[in-house]
């Protein structure tokens, strides 16, 4: 469908809202995500019709995206959380002010890994000695410990002797470093902000969880960014 036709189908106001929901909505008749639905007219029979934001996204997401669309009008008016700000930039509503940028960086640097979640250790760290026990692949450990064992102890991506606290401190210093590159993207159903340090450290923060999702020194960041699950990649710095 050509751009002008898309606008005719959606209407100006509707298109504004739908563009903010990019990634959730498609300009086709996909029954899950498409804006093109069908209605029955007694004269003309079955006809194409625009589906509402509510019917495509559900009440909660429709409300959220409507709110975000309104934010685009009142750009400086809100008292937004860091997570709101990351999503707003990711969606393309607007850029961050310098103060907001600093808030985001400070918040993410202090977030750390989720202390309450447990993650399967996996084969790569099975057999390592950790907290006085030999790790088994099926063991459940906090994500911070799993990432430390994978990338520092087994992968030796950090210098020998790096403790788990050194590892966390290294990730924090990457986030706050003014030379670090920063990128927002949508990864699966999550908005994330990633920090790519000059020493090759990559830390990502996941908005919906409010914690770091990973911390490693990848062989190629390009590969990590080019995942088929990742879209709407936007570099901030």
């Amino acid at each position: 469908m050509a751009g002008n036709c898309k606008r005719e189908v959606a209407g100006f106001t509707g298109l504004q809202g739908k563009q903010t929901a990019e990634g959730m909505i498609t300009f086709d008749d996909n029954p899950m995500t498409g804006i093109v639905g069908r209605k029955y007219d007694p004269v003309w029979g079955s006809m194409r019709a625009e589906r509402s934001l509510l019917s495509i996204l559900g009440a909660d997401k429709a409300k959220m995206y409507t709110r975000l669309a309104l934010m685009g009008v009142a750009q400086q008016a809100g008292d937004y959380t860091v997570d709101d700000l990351i999503q707003m930039v990711g969606i393309g509503l607007r850029d961050l002010t310098p103060d907001e940028f600093q808030r985001v960086v400070t918040h993410v640097a202090n977030a750390g890994f989720d202390p309450d979640r447990l993650e399967r250790a996996g084969s790569r760290i099975a057999g390592l000695l950790w907290n006085g026990k030999v790790v088994k692949g099926g063991d459940l450990l906090p994500p911070g410990e799993v990432h430390y064992l994978r990338h520092v102890v087994a992968g030796r991506e950090w210098p020998e002797g790096t403790s788990i606290n050194d590892y966390y401190a290294s990730l924090r210093s990457t986030i706050v470093d003014s030379t670090t590159k920063i990128v927002i993207s949508r990864y699966g159903n999550f908005w994330q902000i990633g920090f790519w340090g000059v020493d090759g450290t990559w830390v990502e923060y996941r908005v919906q969880y409010r914690y770091w999702s990973t911390g490693l020194r990848p062989t190629s960041l390009e590969k990590v960014i080019n995942s088929k699950y990742r879209k709407f990649v936007k570099w901030l710095r």
Partner: protein
């Protein structure tokens, strides 16, 4: 050129993540999205390591181990596509 030590680490990582793939594949759709994405990140990095190793002139045991990894990757190519995981170049 990567060092011999880093070759060994990459091969070890690839061998381990392939084992994790075989453990995860049958239960992929019961994993949380958190777990699937975590694995995807690690997989993308492993793909980069595999492609680095393929460009090196390995010999002896590392070369044999890389052949084993290559054969496993070829065998699971359709599963990688099905799960939308990255397929290494040359596979």
């Amino acid at each position: 050129m990567a060092s011999l030590n880093s070759h060994t680490l990459m091969i070890k990582n690839l061998t381990g993540i392939l084992e994790e793939f075989f453990e995860n594949y049958p239960v992929w759709h019961t994993l949380s999205e958190f777990e699937r994405l975590d694995f995807d990140t690690e997989w993308c990095n492993a793909v980069a390591q595999y492609e680095v190793l393929r460009k090196e002139s390995l010999s002896g045991e590392p070369a044999q181990q890389l052949d084993v990894i290559t054969n496993k990757l070829k065998a699971i190519k359709s599963k990688l596509v099905e799960l939308r995981l990255m397929v290494p170049e040359g596979i």
